[in-house]
């Protein structure tokens, strides 16, 4: 068996190794496929569907789909962009995302993705759900208004920290991140040094008292759009 697999993304030839996902091979080639729930070092689970690409004409999540010889992958197309915008739009209106006073603003992957995709305002009506804030932990605050149910905290706590502090409960519109305790986060053995404290793509799980310490202009996505670091490695 060859140790190299060749396929194309938007007509560009890409070489990868067996076992790599399309997203990993694309990253290595400097081609950015938009994504939200995916995070390096965590097991991809294809839940947000932002990284959906067409593989030989069929829609698949690039973060979970392994590369195959000769596959024709479509990524940067008008149809997929529209599809991704719809997902991001829905995530915005399904939560309470007030970027204007959110400390994650400028470092937020959801916000950065909206900017990259050219969303200036959601087109769907806001649902304004009633969500709660868990401020009981001395070092960490959970603001569920901003949760997009990406599952990173669930995985990081379970697979990296080996604590299983977070888990989803409820279904559909009532689904939310719960903590493994009878009451609040303070009742768990969660630590600010845990991996799960550093994986939230939005301002849901935040470290207390950091706030707006980074000035505007020096935040991660202030000057370059999300994905620029991957595109900078283009071969």
């Amino acid at each position: 068996m060859s140790d190299q697999i060749t396929f194309t993304i938007d007509g560009v030839e890409v070489k990868g190794k067996p076992g790599q996902t399309i997203l990993e091979a694309a990253d290595a080639a400097g081609i950015y496929i938009p994504r939200l729930c995916f995070m390096k070092d965590l097991i991809p689970h294809g839940s947000c569907r932002v990284c959906t690409v067409f593989i030989n004409g069929r829609p698949q999540a690039a973060c979970t789909q392994p590369i195959t010889e000769g596959a024709i992958v479509e990524n940067d197309t008008a149809e997929l962009k529209e599809h991704r915008k719809n997902i991001i739009d829905m995530l915005f209106v399904e939560g309470n995302h007030f970027c204007m006073f959110c400390e994650k603003s400028g470092n937020c992957e959801l916000q950065a993705m909206a900017y990259r995709l050219g969303i200036s305002a959601p087109k769907y009506p806001y649902l304004f759900p009633k969500r709660d804030v868990d401020a009981t932990h001395p070092d960490i605050l959970i603001d569920r208004n901003r949760c997009i149910l990406c599952g990173r905290c669930v995985e990081a706590s379970r697979d990296v920290d080996k604590k299983t502090i977070f888990e989803f409960v409820g279904r559909g519109a009532d689904k939310k991140v719960a903590v493994n305790a009878n009451a609040d986060l303070k009742d768990t053995d969660f630590k600010a040094t845990d991996k799960a404290a550093d994986v939230c793509p939005v301002g849901c799980i935040i470290k207390k008292r950091v706030g707006f310490a980074i000035p505007v202009g020096q935040r991660k996505y202030d000057t370059k759009p999300i994905g620029s670091d991957i595109e900078a490695g283009k071969k």
Binding site: M100, F101, E103, V133, A135, T136, L141, K208, R209, V210, G211, F212, A213, I214, P215, V216, G217, Q218
Partner: protein, 478 residues
Amino acid sequence: MSESKRVIIEPVTRVEGHGKVSILLDENNKVTQARLHIVEFRGFERFIQGRPYWEVPVLVQRLCGICPVSHHLAAAKAMDRIVGADKLTPTAEKMRRLMHYGQMFQSHALHFFHLVSPDLLFGFDADPKIRNVIGVAIKFPDLAVQGVMMRKFGQEIIKATAGKKIHGTGAIPGGINKNLSIAERDSFLKDIKQMLEWSRGALKIAKDYTVENLQKIASFGSFDSNHLSLIRKDGAMDLYHGNLRAIDSQGKKIFDQVDYSDYTDYITEEVKSWSYMKFPFIKSIGAEKGWYRVGPLARVNTCDFIDTPEAEAARKEFMAVTNGKPNNITMAYHWARMIEILHSAEKINELLNDKDLQGTDLVVKGKRRNEAVGLIEAPRGTLFHHYKVNDDDQITMANLIVSTTHNNEPMNRAVAKVADEYISGVPKITEGLLNRVEVAIRAYDPCLSCATHAMGKMPLKITLYDYQGNEITSRTKE
């Protein structure tokens, strides 16, 4: 049964936010009641409950698009106390001061050049088609440009200190999140001389207008009142920090050097059914006579001196008009405001030449508290922020007394005075007469919503009602 009429001015134009004036007339067109109503509702005190305290300086400034820096800094000053930062680093304090003077400079420029100058340059009775900012731009293009450029300068200072021109994030609990780079400093130093020159020019316009028309405007919407502001320990005007001083109409101190954390011992608020805005007053005097004015007029009246030479010289000239006694002329607000614009420019010049602004020690912390008050002299007057925070770092109580709220009773008095003097008994109420009511309100530079900006030529609807509330006639100014 006697027949009464009601004249409504809605919205009041060339002020920030939305309000309306109602004037009740009897069958002889005599004014029986005149009120300024605040028709917007602000729910910030309630909906910030539960939010983490470090978010508040950024969140609560969304009250306003004109002077958000004031709310940003008042909240940050309260949060300094919450985190136990009783003394900021020189870099942090001076960066915040620079932000604040930039704010004062741009806000006063906006008010004077864009909102008020049409009344002063064209007269109260001038055709409303030209009595607006566009008219100023056509007839006095140099002035219009100065107004825009001065506002821009102030806004750029805010951007360099807060990160954004509107709703920045610079002030954080215990300090500031950036210093001023050499490049930023030099870009301002390049323009500061021009700004000082234009400030002198604006001061001259306001002074000359007041002095030349003194006889006419001395009684226009004027009345004796108490005055309140922050004051530095040595009695100097200090727009960023100090203790509270209140004086009566003759200059006698009602209280002095009061630590503003104890403000509830000295000031309380009254609620009236016809306005969303409360009516604050000095406790020891009572609601009837304890109301007071805040803002430029009050600040120039309460201070013993101004610590920048040109503004101090201007203050002396100002005080000479009333023989050293407090000036109670409503229209003198404009002159006092332009003394402050020059003072702000002088302060900005001082700060830009201070190397502390390039320091890197930005934040301090100390012993955590659960309750704190932050005060600042906003462009429109003393701004109070009061918060309680629980052990989980969440806001449990917020009380904001904004500058315009302090001036609520004075503005109502000004409206009543003008209505009585100019509208009472007049057979035909003209647009010019109604504009006089607005001129009196505008002197206070009110931010009626303390929310968004409503500048320039807004439609003015005047409706006459009979005593049963039936519309008799209506006229709309486009």
